[in-house]
Structures are given as structure tokens and as C-alpha cells.
Symmetry: C2
Amino acid sequence: MNAGGSDAGRAWQLLVRFFLAQRGRLAAVEQGELSPVQCHVLHVLEPGRPVPMRQLADSLACDASNVTGLVDRLEARGLVARRPSPGDRRVKELDLTPSGSRLRAELLKGIAARPNPLARLTPREQRLLVRLLERLLDDRDR
Amino acid sequence: MNAGGSDAGRAWQLLVRFFLAQRGRLAAVEQGELSPVQCHVLHVLEPGRPVPMRQLADSLACDASNVTGLVDRLEARGLVARRPSPGDRRVKELDLTPSGSRLRAELLKGIAARPNPLARLTPREQRLLVRLLERLLDDRDR
DNA sequence: TATTGTTATACTCTATAACTATA
DNA sequence: TATAGTTATAGAGTATAACAATA
């Protein structure tokens, strides 16, 4: 079997284990402000870069029907807004409101401010990990 | 601001981004056999190593009341079994059934067999990542 | 008194299927 | 015909609060 390809498998297994273990451990989630999925939406939505509903469903790896209710709830809280797409009248694009942009900034700040699980790595190891993850996530989600 | 501590924050942010992006993309989940949370339970439960319900709730970072229904469903499918704890009569320990053990083995195999997102790293980078993640996950979850 | 697990309740997330309005 | 988004429905995950049994 895997002679040479086993490291990718092992790394994948460790990453899966990591994100299973960390599920729901975001500051905004713990404070009850946002659900994990809502965090994802605010994370994907960059200010001034509207995203079609369909694209959001893809990035969530879920059925399109879920996005309707999800966006309904975020819109009811004034965090996002639906806009008609210029090119295709079937499409609705999603954008952050000023309030949503502020919460997104707090979310990112909260993520960066909670590096607890990574404290056990040396600074050099942390830099290595950043480099590897950046390559891993390159040209993804945008 | 962060002079020196920023790499941990950056790495943390990238890991969060990664697991948000990969949520639900496990073979067993895609095939509709298990939910992400059920995967976590089977992952945590090693054969022959019973785990108290309370400990399961901790590892899921959720309220203990959820574990009741979660375990009910897994037990109804014959994957896990509740056993009284030898020491404390309040405690119920959870163990895999033979059927659960088999599904767990398939789950782990499926995870290892799906390293697609990691193919973009060189073999050397993959080994580096494995080393870092192993240090990251060391003495956790057991 | 504190802890383990349960129940009741309410809300969110998720998939499937059927529908509409566009393309 | 195909696609974007919605609605209806049902099942699963989640938190809070109250409870029984045990420590």
C-alpha cells in the first residue's frame, strides 16, 4: 500500500482530528454571539466583496436550501444584506452591512487572540506551520 | 502590536480557516453514514477503552444533555453500548460494539485514504506538517 | 452540597423534494 | 432544459433549565 504517500494521509488524519477537537471553540461561538456556521459566513464574506448565495452554499458544502434560512437569520440581525446581481436576475449577492463588517473584524481579532493550542510550538515551528498552511490554503475560498 | 507572538495567531487563524472549510468533508459524512459529530464520537472511542458520558461531552465541547440523545441514536444503531461504571454508580461508560469497532476502522481508513487537499505539498513538507501536528495534538484527547 | 445523567423545550443546522423565476 | 433561490418538511445538533440518583 502507501509507500511514500502515507505522510499526506497521516497529516490529513491529524488535521481532521484537530478540527474535530476544536469544533465550536471560537470566542464568538463560546460567547453565544454566533454559531460556527455563521462564523464561517462572516469569515467568507469580505467587506465590499459580495458573494452569490450559491457560492456560499458551495463554500459551506451544504445544500442551497439551507442558505436561505441561514441568511434570513443573519439579515434579521442586520449583519448581511441581499442585493440583486447586476448580470443575472436569478442571482442574489450577499454583502456585509457596516454592523456585519464590525463583527467580522472582532471575529478575526478573536481568532488571532486565542492561539492557546499553538503555544506549545516554538516560534520557529509556528512560522513553519504558517508557511505550510498558507501553501495548503492557497487559492482556495476566493 | 504583536511583535513575536503573531505567528501563533496567524497559524491559529489558518487552522480555523482550514477546518471551517473542511467541515463535513469526511467520506463517512458524504456517504450519509454518519454525521460529523457521530464521526467524532467513534473517533474518540477506542475499542476496549470505555469513556464516561461526561468525558464525551467535554471532548465535544457541548452540554452534557446533548450526549444523551446523541448516544441514544448511536446505541439504537448498535454502534455503541452504555455500561455501568465499576467505581461510581452515577457514571455510565460508553464502549464500542463489535459493529461500532468495524465502522470506526473504516472511518479511520477513509480519512487516511482521502488526502487530496494535501497533495499540493511536497513529500518533505508533508513530513514537516505531520511532525508539527503531532506535537500540536500530543497528550490531548486521551 | 456537588456531580452524573436524564428530560423538556426551543432554536439552529442539514438534506430531500417540489416550486418560481429566470437563463 | 438547466440554474438560482425559495418553501415545506423532517431529522439531527445545541443550549438552558429543572430533575432524580448518587457521591
